[in-house]
């Protein structure tokens, strides 16, 4: 229990550090959202707009960095992430609320599937060491070395187009209004297929590899040999003895991966125009939309922290050795 408390303290510290970095980094960015907005519009907006925009965004006031920092912290404690510049005056929380479900849905589910698939495949490959299964490794290594944005682009070029089943962009068919009917869900799944496939292809081999290596290592542990000596069915030896133990080190890796769901697969969202947080982050960077940038970064960091916390708990549950009596 004290272990968890200690971890919790660490998470608080990290959250504070992230919030601070988060506050200062955008402020060191030269340029401001108004210039960025005008530049982005390239002549479609007159230079007279500058003044009105400064007033609009509330950038016309001078405030010291320290007082900004403390009012930022205060705002955060109240759960107020500010107003986005790009989507002014939409609150950042609302903007993030639009993107988050998509990211979590697409990347989250894919990460979980990738982990499950990869771990299962890795367990089999590691168990059947010395057979044809070994030749899978170089193939997956090569495939996973391909940058996934590139893979995505090629997939778009080859598989989408008029008459194709696969849509090239978006999260659901244009014209559909999000609700829980089958048409919408079907369309969502259809749109998620290609991006999900890209993420899967590039992430699965990492899981295969680490699980395989752990399987190979664990397989030569004594208790696995003992399990064989006990005459247990092979399946049981593989699952309950080898895989069960080989899985443990992968859990923390999985937690990190879960945490990186939001931030890690930015490129997939960019390439597939998937309306998630990654795409929003990318656009916020371009538009100098600090409130949005900070909000997204905060969400990403918090989700990594949360995932780590979950991993800690999972570890406690999975590995009795970390549990202490008393």
């Amino acid at each position: 229990m004290s272990y968890l408390l200690k971890r919790f303290g660490f998470y608080l510290l990290t959250a504070w550090a992230a919030v601070t970095i988060n506050f200062f980094v955008p402020r060191m960015i030269p340029g401001d959202p108004v210039q960025a907005l005008i530049t982005k519009q390239r002549g479609q907006m007159t230079s007279e707009s500058v003044r009105s925009l400064y007033v609009l965004f509330g950038l016309d006031k001078d405030e010291s960095l320290a007082s900004q920092y403390f009012s930022y912290l205060g705002q955060l404690l109240r759960g107020d992430l500010g107003l986005s510049f790009t989507f002014f005056p939409t609150p950042v929380a609302e903007v993030i609320g639009d993107g988050l479900p998509w990211t979590v849905g697409l990347v989250g589910i894919t990460t979980v599937i990738g982990f499950l698939l990869g771990t299962a495949a890795g367990a089999v490959v590691g168990w059947r060491r010395g057979t044809w299964a070994d030749s899978l490794i170089p193939v997956t290594t090569f495939v996973s070395s391909i940058p996934y944005f590139w893979l995505g682009l090629v997939a778009i070029a080859l598989l989408t187009g008029p008459g194709s089943f696969f849509p090239a962009s978006g999260a659901y068919a244009i014209g559909l209004v999000p609700n829980w009917d089958w048409q919408f869900i079907g369309s969502t799944v259809q749109h998620a297929l290609l991006p999900a496939f890209t993420i899967l292809v590039s992430s699965v081999s990492g899981w295969i590899l680490s699980m395989r290596n752990m399987m190979v290592t664990v397989s030569s542990d004594d208790y696995v040999t003992v399990a064989h000596a006990k005459g247990l069915p092979e399946r049981r030896v593989m699952l309950a003895y080898a895989a069960r133990n080989a899985l443990l080190p992968n859990v923390s890796g999985f937690a990190l991966a879960l945490g990186f769901i939001v931030g890690g697969t930015l490129l997939v969202e960019i390439v597939f125009s998937y309306p998630g947080l990654g795409l929003q982050l990318f656009q916020a960077v371009g538009a100098k939309d600090y409130p949005l940038l900070q909000g997204i970064f905060l969400i990403i960091t918090l989700s990594v922290l949360l995932a780590n916390l979950l991993a800690d708990v999972a570890y406690l549950a999975l590995d009795p050795r970390t549990r202490r009596e008393g």
């Binding site: 510290l13 550090a17 010395g130 391909i146 090629v154 070029a157 040999t225 064989h228 371009g286 960091t301």
Partner: protein, 301 residues
């Protein structure tokens, strides 16, 4: 490592890329930025990888781009490795609050997502030369290795030979430098290779999304131009494919080297003693066929 074909293949490929990094720009048949009248041509004898919308030679761009990719990978790798060794080994060797503090620092950096941070920092820099990109990547991606090194150092610190050195009166810095560090070589090397891979992919990603300087050539810039000119929509596959494959090859080479290191560190992963007809299996030791001819062959070989 000599007997490890995977690592050897990886090293050879890495060597090739390193060589290209040095001589690539001179080998390139054209100035990679130079325009010509051959606009958007598919691969031909003159332009091996075809041309861009401005008639630039893509082969030359890929060749010239190798340098920046390798350079950024190497610098970022070195920076991250040095940092991770400093933080990780010190945190592992020092007990008490100093060690705890350092390990908390690396944990914080571990938790903050690197790629978004890199994107944000890079886009906020006034100038994004290869060096600055490499520094940003290096400075943000040392934490994982530091953690691994710390764990490793913690276990080494308890080893008898370290205790013995202390009992013998060795000073702390000598213990770290000469007793602990040499035993961390494989871990450090593996961390270095991993960081290089991460740095290469990050640099290319940054260039591809247009956050970093698209002036100098690297594979990401090539892809960036291909993307912004919608090469695939125009059917100009040659604009996309070479750079993508180059990345995949470099990545594979780095992964192979890391396999080699893994197998060196963990001998159980090694797959020596392979021979046709005998499948090594845990729990069911193979019994060699009693066919006298085959047995004899095994005997004499």
């Amino acid at each position: 490592m000599r007997t490890n074909p995977k690592a050897l293949t990886g090293l050879v490929a890495l060597g090739f890329f390193a060589l290209m990094a040095v001589v690539g720009p001179w080998l390139a048949p054209f100035d990679p930025s130079e325009r010509s009248s051959a606009l958007l041509q598919p691969p031909s004898a003159e332009h091996w990888f075809g041309t861009t919308h401005l008639g630039q030679d893509i082969f030359s761009q890929v060749l010239a781009g190798t340098r920046s990719v390798v350079l950024v990978g190497a610098i970022a790798g070195v920076v991250a490795t040095v940092l991770s060794v400093l933080v990780g080994v010190t945190a592992g060797y020092l007990s008490g609050s100093a060690g705890e503090g350092l390990s908390a620092l690396s944990n914080v950096f571990l938790v903050i997502p690197a790629l978004p941070l890199i994107v944000i920092i890079t886009s906020s820099l006034p100038e994004t030369s290869n060096l600055t990109i490499a520094l940003v990547i290096g400075l943000t991606s040392w934490a994982w290795n530091a953690r691994v090194l710390r764990a490793q150092t913690l276990s080494l610190r308890r080893r008898d030979y370290v205790e013995a050195a202390r009992a013998n009166g060795e000073s702390a810095w000598r213990i770290i430098l000469f007793e602990i560090m040499p035993n961390l070589t494989a871990v450090i090397a593996s961390g270095f290779v991993g960081t290089v891979l991460f740095a290469v992919v990050s640099e290319i990603t940054l260039a591809f999304i247009g956050v970093s300087d698209a002036g100098g050539w690297n594979w990401g810039t090539v892809l960036y131009w291909a993307q912004s000119q919608q090469a695939l929509a125009q059917g100009a596959w040659w604009w996309f494919v070479p750079a993508g494959l180059a990345i995949a090859l470099l990545g594979t080479a780095l992964s192979l080297v890391n396999f080699g290191i893994d197998e060196y560190v963990n001998p159980r992963l090694r797959n020596r003693f392979s021979m046709p007809g005998v499948r090594m299996r845990v729990g069911f030791t193979p019994v060699l066929p009693q066919d006298p001819k085959l047995a004899q062959k095994l005997e004499t070989s």
